[in-house]
Subunit: 318 residues, 3 copies
Amino acid sequence: MRFGLELRGDPALRVSRVATLSQAAPGSLSFLANSRYRKQLPTTRASAVVVGPGDAEACPVATLIGANPYLVYARIAALLHPTAQVAPGIHPTAVVAPDARIAASASVGPLCVIEAGAEIGERVQIGAGCTVLAGARIGADTRLMPRVTLYARVRIGERCLLHTGAVVGADGFGFAPDGGAWVKVPQVGSVRIGDDVEIGANTTIDRGAIEDTIIENGVKLDNQIQVGHNVVIGAHTAIAACTGISGSTSIGQRCMIGGMVGFAGHLTIADDVSITGCSLVSASIRQAGSYSSGMPTVETRAWRRMVAHLRRFGEKER
Amino acid sequence: MRFGLELRGDPALRVSRVATLSQAAPGSLSFLANSRYRKQLPTTRASAVVVGPGDAEACPVATLIGANPYLVYARIAALLHPTAQVAPGIHPTAVVAPDARIAASASVGPLCVIEAGAEIGERVQIGAGCTVLAGARIGADTRLMPRVTLYARVRIGERCLLHTGAVVGADGFGFAPDGGAWVKVPQVGSVRIGDDVEIGANTTIDRGAIEDTIIENGVKLDNQIQVGHNVVIGAHTAIAACTGISGSTSIGQRCMIGGMVGFAGHLTIADDVSITGCSLVSASIRQAGSYSSGMPTVETRAWRRMVAHLRRFGEKER
Amino acid sequence: MRFGLELRGDPALRVSRVATLSQAAPGSLSFLANSRYRKQLPTTRASAVVVGPGDAEACPVATLIGANPYLVYARIAALLHPTAQVAPGIHPTAVVAPDARIAASASVGPLCVIEAGAEIGERVQIGAGCTVLAGARIGADTRLMPRVTLYARVRIGERCLLHTGAVVGADGFGFAPDGGAWVKVPQVGSVRIGDDVEIGANTTIDRGAIEDTIIENGVKLDNQIQVGHNVVIGAHTAIAACTGISGSTSIGQRCMIGGMVGFAGHLTIADDVSITGCSLVSASIRQAGSYSSGMPTVETRAWRRMVAHLRRFGEKER
């Protein structure tokens, strides 16, 4: 088998699309990777289901058995639903500087702006309305969905995917106090993004104050994440939506960060750290493990009593 | 009376604009709906005020008395300040696929991109710089403010209003682990949005992994909300800004969700649930009611004592 | 000395760029303003370093001594790395209403839309793809980076800087309940932004319901901040990323607000208030000082014990 799977059922069976267990119709491939959905397996109408070894017995249809069914599903789904290919070339409404270097195999969509000195690699796809400012560089096979903005001198690696509204390289938030007012600190660094990085819709990654902000290979960023200046995010770390990372914080490799987590600045987070959603990370974390501070909801009346209890310990001289 | 109101004062009186109680000048209509502003009523210079029955006595000018003064105000204000009408037609700078179907009564603003197979209904107004990808559909009388992006195959109902920077249909955040790296799970579902939905600026709604993400009729979403893949939001639910909803969570009808609330994934929230701001919803909520976990600020020194107290209970073997 | 500094070293020394202490090469100017980096001073290869009086002895190279080294650094860096100047004029691909008033010294980038009655002041720079709706005004020397959107009638002061994706003047979130559904309350106010304001990427500032939303002079807003309708932010207040401010809240002057802070609506915050990150401000703050409610992370197992302890106090009849 192509994916290292064991098959139980008709080897000549064909599937043409993916479906959930509960909604599948004949011709569909489904999968079971989350035990929450196990009860849907016996009644599925899918033509075939990818399952782990423990679920094979319960599967009423053709069964593909693998150690990591979600991964297998991902790979088959990518074959069944390939990314739409765009014809190479520069749309006539794009505004492209004469000295921008754009590979002949790349596509630049309508109403894009590509400034002087930008470099667009082989087979890059730039969606409608993207803006690539002076000297920015995009590696081979990277795709920008519509309306992505790269500020000057930003560098994006190969095989990345950036979603609409992503802003890479805006100024970091740096101001020096001057007698009650603020003086802007020039943000002269840039942003370097590795290979195989995905950046979600409306996520913002600020340029460094002096050195660069760095996103290493294989990092996955969900929507509406804020990455401050001079942050480093280690390879293969995944971060869920709405998380904010303050300036100069360094996050290790293979971390898993929940949604709406706040990181203070100038911290160091070890490799293989998990942080659950809605936590505040206000100190460095030196050891791999799982960390939390998100408070779960209760009924509002109960919550008021909990807050009142805790507040007593805020008073002095207890 | 047109709005079912009782009038005390001159029936021939005319107003031409709305104003707050404190800033009103003659010719203005004002209203009192929040008791916080009651003390401004006796000195208002408005020509007329909409009030509830209990406030009529204190009103020094022409008085419109109704059970729901805020609702009455909303309707009169809409008459006094109608939405600017845009002439039908496609701006010559828009880039429109030959097979996009655009109603003759619709308007498409400058520098829009409308891809193949898109369908734009009657009297739809599409602001400058919007992007409507292949096969997306927009129902009658919906308005897109400038720079809204609809990904492929997204469906928007009738009479909706989408604000600038809204992104509907970007990929959900789905990756399968593969030995320390991540493999993208294709996001092959779409987004279906009902009628009379409002979507705020820079709000993002991801497409489903397999089935669709669904926003039902009458839902109101404020700015910078994140809606993950396969979320369902029930009819007439209102959600304040900066809230994030993780994938596959289902929220009931007529819920009121505060700002900056975080929802974990795969939850079920009942109808008629209220959640106060900055709460974390990490488990399903089966009963209507009000729920909270947002911790109110105190002086930083007191807060440190409160945290220190609570931390003692995190130690083992107590 | 031009910046009121004391110099120890060769007055003929020249620097051409800025660098961090640890990465500096000869020809670079560096600075020491955060004691966290003091240990890098003895081994720096910078040609000159700006330090406070207490660090002068430890500096191994030419030393510029000032009371506020970060401020001095900011000013020298601005000289060494000046903002790129853009030639005046309107790009031929911009769509500009005939009656828009654009100063001859201003520049309007490619693919911008400037609607009727807009006013663009002297030396204003408008980046690619910006949208300035009817009657909006921009004061002299303000810069809009690409893809900023100003809704109708918004006013921006002088010397402001707005980053990509900022949306100024979208509708506030106002709906009146009507028997289980919502009726939109027209948002007829606007937004007034003072001078020397910086607005970060993808930040949203809603227009007022009746009166205007107001951002006073010198305010600095980071990325992905949400400012609700009728908010007032006092002069020289700085707000870090991802913070959300609900409608009608008024924040004083010279406040420093951390990231991901949530403000309830209709509050009054005094001048000179600091709020640390991830706090919830649910009541007015009448006195200057520092306030907090962000809960720091601990190991998840310990956190569960802490939550379980607190929950006991939510039960009734204790």
